[in-house]
C-alpha cells in the first residue's frame, strides 16, 4: 500500500492518463502474461506488488453442462472430493488404505444389490454385510489424516480457501502469503496426479445436505432449479449444478473416477496467479511440479443445441413460503456481440436506485420488495432473467405485468443519453475498483478464461462504449418476446391433509399469510 509499490503497480496497470484526462477506456487493460506447458496446462500471471500475497486459482473447464442424466451433480461432488487428499496427503499408509477402500466399495455394491431385491430381501445378510462395512470403515478412519490438505494450507496462512462449481467450470481458490507459493504447487500438482476418492460415501451425504439446504428448503433455490428445468428442454443447462436428488444419492465411485480422468487433465486446466511474485520464478515452479502430468485426449464438447422456443412456458411451484416470480428469456452464448447491449440493459433495469425496475416497481408503484434483472453470460446460450418478490397484498400477477410494462418501454423508446452515460461511467469505475483486489482479479481472469478467453476483460469497456441507445432497443425487441420466455412462480403451499393433521396434533394452524 505504501509509496514504494506505486511505480510497480503503474507499470502493471497502464492508466497513467487517468488523472489528467479523466478515465479513458483505452488505457484500462490488464497486462496478463501467458505461458503454456507442453502438456497443455495454461498459466496466466498478473503482477501486483503492493501486498506480499499471491492469489492463485486452478480452474478446470468442466461443469454440470458436461454431465448426463444419471450422474448430474458429479462435477460438484468431485469438487468436494478434491479436498479429501491424495496418495501422499491425508493418509498414514496408502498401501494399507487402498485394499480397504476396494473392500469398502465391494461391500457397498453388495449391500445395495441386496436392498434392491425388495421381495427377497435377506435381512440377516444385509445386517452382516453392514457390520462388515462398519468394521472396514473403522479401520479406514484410523488410516486417514483428517482434512490434511485443508489444515496444511491453513497453518501456512492460506486464506479464502474454497472451491466452486458452475455449469461451465470448476474453480479452486487459494490466497497465500507470497512466500508459500511452492506449497500450493506441490499440493495442487499432487491433487491432479494422485487424487484418492476417500470418504466418498460420507461426502456424498454431505452434498445431499447441501442440496437440502440450498435447494429443497430454500424458496429461491427451488424456484431457480424449476425455472431452468423448464426454460431448457434439451440443453444440459436444464439440470441443477448440484445435481438431481436421485443422482446425487446414487453416483458411484467408478463414475466419479472416470470423470476425473477425462476432465482433470492439464490440457483442460488453467492456473491464474495474481499478486507479489516473479513470473519467471512462477513458470519454473509450475514446470517443476506440473510438467510431468500427461495430457489427455480433448474432452468431448456438448453437441446438444437448445431448440428455438415455440411459445411461452409457465411453471408453478408450491412451497411453504411467500410468493416469488422468475422470468427467463433465451440469449446467445459468450462471444455474441449482442451480449454487450444486454449487459447495458441489465444495468439499466436493475443497478442502483436510479434503475428502472427499482424506480417503477419499488419506489413508484411500490408493489415489490425485490426486482432484479441479470444476463447470464455462459459458454453456451443461457438466459436473461428477471427475479422479483411482491409486497403483500400485491400479487405476482401485478409484478409480472409491471415487468412486461418496463420491457415494452424498452422496446418503444431508446434509453436516454444520461442513462447510457451513467452505465458506462459505472462500468469504468467498477473496473478501477476491481484492480484493488488481487483476489477479485484472479477470480475474474480465471472465470473468463474458462468461458472463452481472459482477454474478454480487456476488450469489455471498448465494446460497451460502442453500445448505442438503438442497440439497447433492438436487443430488447429481439430477445424479450413472449415466445422466448419462461415464467416460474412460487406460491404458498395449500396442503389440506397436512392442515388437518396439524390441527389434530395441536400444532399451530397455518394460515395463508404468515409472519
Amino acid at each position: 500500500m505504501g509509496k514504494k509499490s506505486l511505480v510497480l503497480v503503474l507499470s502493471v496497470f497502464a492508466f497513467t492518463v487517468l488523472f489528467a484526462g479523466g478515465v479513458c477506456a483505452d488505457t484500462l487493460k490488464l497486462d496478463v502474461k501467458e505461458y503454456v506447458l507442453k502438456n497443455g496446462l495454461k498459466l496466466l500471471m498478473l503482477e501486483k506488488h503492493d501486498v506480499p500475497i499471491v492469489c492463485v486459482r486452478i480452474n478446470y473447464k468442466v461443469g454440470s453442462v458436461d454431465e448426463r442424466p444419471g450422474i448430474t451433480g458429479v462435477s460438484h461432488l468431485f469438487e468436494h472430493m478434491m479436498f479429501k487428499g491424495t496418495k501422499m496427503f491425508g493418509t498414514r499408509n496408502y498401501t494399507a488404505e487402498k485394499s480397504l477402500l476396494e473392500k469398502e466399495d465391494d461391500l457397498v455394491v453388495k449391500v445395495s444389490a441386496e436392498k434392491t431385491h425388495t421381495k427377497t430381501t435377506d435381512k440377516k445378510k444385509i445386517e452382516s454385510l453392514e457390520k462388515e462395512l462398519d468394521e472396514v470403515r473403522k479401520k479406514l478412519r484410523d488410516l486417514v489424516v483428517k482434512d490434511e490438505v485443508f489444515s496444511l494450507y491453513l497453518r501456512h496462512g492460506a486464506s479464502g480457501l474454497n472451491a466452486a462449481t458452475s455449469t461451465d467450470g470448476t474453480y479452486y481458490f487459494c490466497d497465500l502469503p507470497a512466500n508459500k507459493l511452492e506449497l500450493w504447487a506441490f499440493i495442487e500438482s499432487d491433487r491432479m496426479k494422485n487424487l484418492v476418492l476417500r470418504e466418498f460415501y460420507s461426502e456424498r451425504d454431505v452434498v445431499m445436505e447441501e442440496r437440502r439446504l440450498r435447494t429443497e428448503n430454500s424458496p429461491f433455490g427451488l424456484l431457480i432449479e424449476q425455472l431452468n428445468a423448464v426454460t431448457f428442454i434439451a440443453h444440459p443447462y436444464r439440470w441443477p449444478t448440484i445435481g438431481w436428488r436421485s443422482d446425487v444419492q446414487n453416483i458411484t465411485k467408478a463414475e466419479t473416477a472416470e470423470y476425473f480422468k477425462r476432465y482433470y487433465a492439464p490440457n483442460n486446466a488453467v492456473i491464474v496467479m495474481v499478486g507479489d511474485f516473479n513470473p519467471d520464478d512462477a513458470i519454473k515452479l509450475v514446470e517443476k511440479y506440473f510438467s510431468d502430468i500427461p495430457s489427455q485426449p480433448a474432452p468431448p464438447t456438448v453437441k446438444t443445441v437448445e431448440p428455438e422456443q415455440k411459445g411461452e412456458r409457465r411453471v408453478e411451484i408450491e412451497f411453504e413460503s411467500n410468493p416469488y416470480i422468475a422470468i427467463s428469456y433465451h440469449i446467445p452464448a459468450v462471444g455474441h456481440p449482442d451480449l454487450y447491449a444486454l449487459d447495458v440493459l441489465s444495468s439499466l433495469l436493475s443497478d442502483g436506485r436510479t434503475s428502472r425496475l427499482y424506480k417503477s416497481m419499488i419506489e413508484d408503484k411500490r408493489i415489490a420488495v425485490m426486482a432484479h434483472a441479470y444476463d447470464e453470460i455462459s459458454k453456451y446460450p443461457d438466459t436473461f432473467t428477471f427475479l422479483a418478490a411482491p409486497r403483500a397484498p400485491h400479487t405476482v400477477a401485478e409484478v409480472e405485468s409491471a415487468i412486461y410494462e418496463e420491457i415494452e418501454k424498452l422496446k418503444n423508446a431508446p434509453p436516454s443519453d444520461w442513462e447510457l452515460q451513467k452505465i458506462k461511467n459505472q462500468l469504468e469505475a467498477d473496473f478501477i475498483r476491481d484492480l484493488n483486489s488481487a483476489s477479485g482479479l484472479a477470480n475474474e481472469i480465471g472465470h473468463f478464461e474458462v468461458l472463452s478467453d481472459w482477454r474478454y476483460i480487456n476488450t469489455f469497456l471498448d465494446k460497451v462504449a460502442q453500445v448505442t441507445a438503438e442497440d439497447v432497443m433492438r436487443v430488447a425487441m429481439k430477445y424479450f418476446t413472449k415466445n422466448n420466455r419462461t415464467v416460474a412462480i412460487l406460491v404458498k403451499k395449500e396442503n389440506n391433509t397436512k392442515m388437518k393433521e396439524t390441527k389434530e396434533n395441536n400444532r399451530p394452524e397455518k394460515s395463508t399469510v404468515t409472519y
Binding site: G22, F150, L152, A164, P177, A178, E209, E216, S321, T514
Partner: protein, 496 residues
C-alpha cells in the same frame, strides 16, 4: 459484464462455507508490526506433510502501512491512509448509537432512521437528485444503524472527492426524513418481517435470540422491530433520534485512497463547517443477566432438514479471555475442517454441509452457539455429537498439535488483514470504536502466541456449559431419529 453473475453462482455452489472460518465477530482484526514467518511445529503424519516440512520458506518481510490518527477541533476522530496506487477515495465512519438505545415500544427506530437518513435525501437535496448525482459519477453514500453502532460510507473516484464529500457531510448533518420515504421503508420492513418464516435459518436466528436474552433486554429483539412497533414510530421520533446521536464528537472516520492528508483535513473542515460538538447523554442499557439452564425449544416447519442452534451466553468483546476463547473455539468448531465439530458431524458422518461453533461478541455478553442443518432423521445424532465435543474439550486438554495448528493459522493469515488500504483503516476505526487498546494490532500476534493448553482448557470450563445449554430445533419432529425430550423438557414455539 456479469461479474455479478459470477458472484451469484459462487454463492450458490461453494463447497465450503466462508462463514466457517470467517465469522466476523469471532476472528479478531489484527494489524501492525513486522512479522517473520511462523515456523510450522506440526508433526507430519503423511508422506506429503513430511516433504512439506522440509520446505524452506523465505521470511515474509512485511511492514503494514502506518495510519495517522488526527482529532479535529469539532471532536471528530480521523484515521488517514494515503494510497496513490489507484484514483479512488473511500471513507467509512462509525457513529456511537444503535438499536440498544431505542425504547422497546419503538423497536426498529434506530434501523429505520439509519436507512431513511440516506434514502430520504437531505434538506437541500431531494433523494432523486442525490441518487442521480451519485450514480452518474459511479459513487456511493450509504448509512445504516445496527444494534450497537451506526455506519456511514462514501466511495468515489478521486476526481469526484469534492462532490462526494459534500453529499456525505450533508447526509450526516441534514437528513430530511420525508414522510413518503419513511412510509416506503416501513412497508419494506413489514414485508420482510412477513417473509421471515419462509426461511428456516431466519426463524432459528430470531427465536434463538429471544431465548438467550431476557425480554426486557434490547439484545432480545431484532433490530428491524416488530409489526406493531414499526407503526408506532413517527417522523418526529426519527428526527429526534438523529439529532441526539449525530454530532462530530461522536463519529470516527476512516479515510483511505488517493488524497493528500493536509488537503483532505481542510476539505473535511469545510464540508462539516458549523457542525458543533455536543454532549450526548446515552440512555442506560440494562446489564445482561447471565442465567444458565438446560432447555429445549421446538418450532414446527414442514421441511426435510432440521435447523439446529444450541448455545448459551458467552463473552463480551473486551473480555480478558478473548484470545484463549478465540483459539479454543477454533479448535472446537470455528476452524473449518480442522475443527472438531465439523470434523465429526460433516467429515466423519456426512450429517451436515454446515456445522460450526461461534462466540459472538458484543459490548455486553454475547452468545456462544453451535449451528448445523441436518436431515430430520439425524437431528438427535448431530446434537449429541456437538454436546459430546463440548464436554470433551472441557474434560481433556487439547492436543499440542491442534493448538499449534490454531495459532499458526491466525499468525500466518495475519498479512491478509492488510490487503487494501480501506480494510486497514476500517480495522483502526473498529478498534477505537470497540474501545480496545489502540495498540491492539501491534500486540495481536503476541496475544495469540501466548495462549497455552492450560488456557484453552480453563476457558472451555469457564465458558462452555453443555449441561446448561439451550437447544433450538426448527423442523418436523415426527421424523427425528429420537424424541427431542431426551435432551430436556421441550417447549413448543408456535409461529404466528
Amino acid at each position: 459484464m456479469n461479474k455479478n453473475n459470477y458472484a451469484l453462482f459462487s454463492a450458490l455452489f461453494l463447497a465450503y462455507f466462508f462463514s466457517l472460518v470467517y465469522s466476523p465477530n469471532l476472528v479478531a482484526q489484527p494489524q501492525g508490526h513486522e512479522h517473520a514467518a511462523v515456523p510450522s511445529t506440526g508433526k507430519p503424519e503423511s508422506e506429503g506433510a513430511k516433504i512439506v516440512s522440509g520446505f524452506k520458506f523465505k521470511p515474509l518481510n512485511f511492514v503494514p502501512s502506518k495510519v495517522d490518527r488526527v482529532v479535529l477541533e469539532n471532536g471528530m476522530i480521523l484515521y488517514l491512509l494515503e494510497d496513490h496506487d489507484l484514483p479512488l477515495f473511500n471513507i467509512t465512519a462509525r457513529i456511537r448509537t444503535g438499536a440498544v438505545y431505542e425504547p422497546i415500544e419503538k423497536a426498529g427506530l434506530a434501523s429505520l432512521t439509519g436507512y431513511v437518513m440516506r434514502n430520504g435525501g437531505t434538506l437541500s437535496m431531494q433523494a432523486d437528485k442525490m441518487n442521480e448525482e451519485l450514480e452518474f459519477m459511479a459513487a456511493s453514500v450509504e448509512t445504516s444503524i445496527d444494534r450497537e453502532s451506526g455506519s456511514a460510507s462514501l466511495s468515489s473516484l478521486k476526481k469526484d472527492i469534492d462532490k462526494g464529500l459534500k453529499i456525505f457531510a450533508d447526509v450526516l448533518m441534514n437528513p430530511a426524513f420525508p414522510e413518503d420515504k419513511i412510509r416506503m421503508r416501513k412497508d419494506e420492513v413489514i414485508e420482510s418481517i412477513r417473509r421471515e418464516n419462509d426461511n428456516p435459518a431466519q426463524i432459528a436466528g430470531r427465536e434463538f435470540r429471544k431465548i438467550m436474552y431476557d425480554s426486557r433486554h434490547p439484545y432480545n429483539r431484532k433490530v428491524e422491530g416488530t409489526l406493531e412497533s414499526i407503526e408506532k414510530i413517527t417522523r418526529d421520533d426519527m428526527v429526534a433520534f438523529h439529532k441526539k446521536y449525530f454530532h462530530p464528537n461522536n463519529i470516527i472516520l476512516g479515510i483511505s485512497g488517493d488524497f493528500n492528508k493536509e488537503e483532505i483535513i481542510r476539505k473535511l473542515n469545510t464540508a462539516f463547517a458549523g457542525w458543533k460538538k455536543e454532549e450526548i447523554l446515552f440512555p442506560e442499557i440494562p446489564k445482561v443477566e447471565k442465567r444458565f439452564e438446560r432447555s429445549v425449544y421446538y418450532v414446527y416447519k414442514d421441511i426435510n432438514q432440521a435447523n439446529v442452534l444450541m448455545g448459551h451466553l458467552g463473552i463480551h468483546r473486551k473480555s480478558p479471555d478473548y484470545f484463549p476463547v478465540m483459539i479454543m473455539n477454533f479448535i472446537l468448531g470455528g476452524g473449518s475442517f480442522t475443527a472438531r465439530i465439523p470434523g465429526r458431524i460433516r467429515s466423519d458422518e456426512g450429517l451436515a454441509y454446515s456445522a460450526y461453533s461461534v462466540f459472538q461478541t458484543s459490548r455486553d455478553t454475547g452468545m456462544f452457539f453451535v449451528s448445523c442443518q441436518t436431515k430430520l432423521e439425524s437431528t438427535n445424532r448431530a446434537i449429541s455429537i456437538a454436546l459430546e465435543e463440548l464436554d470433551k474439550i472441557r474434560k481433556m486438554p487439547v492436543d499440542k498439535d491442534e493448538l499449534a495448528q490454531a495459532k499458526e493459522t491466525f499468525m500466518n493469515q495475519f498479512v491478509f488483514r492488510f490487503t487494501t488500504s480501506a480494510s486497514i483503516v476500517g480495522q483502526k476505526i473498529d478498534i477505537e470504536y470497540e474501545e480496545l487498546p489502540l495498540n491492539y494490532l501491534e500486540t495481536y500476534l503476541d496475544n495469540v502466541q501466548a495462549v497455552t493448553q492450560e488456557d484453552v482448557q480453563r476457558v472451555a470450563r469457564k465458558y462452555l456449559h453443555p449441561d446448561e445449554i439451550k437447544v433450538l430445533v426448527v423442523g418436523d419432529k415426527e421424523k427425528f431419529d429420537k424424541p427431542l425430550d431426551s435432551f430436556g423438557k421441550v417447549n413448543v414455539i408456535e409461529l404466528k
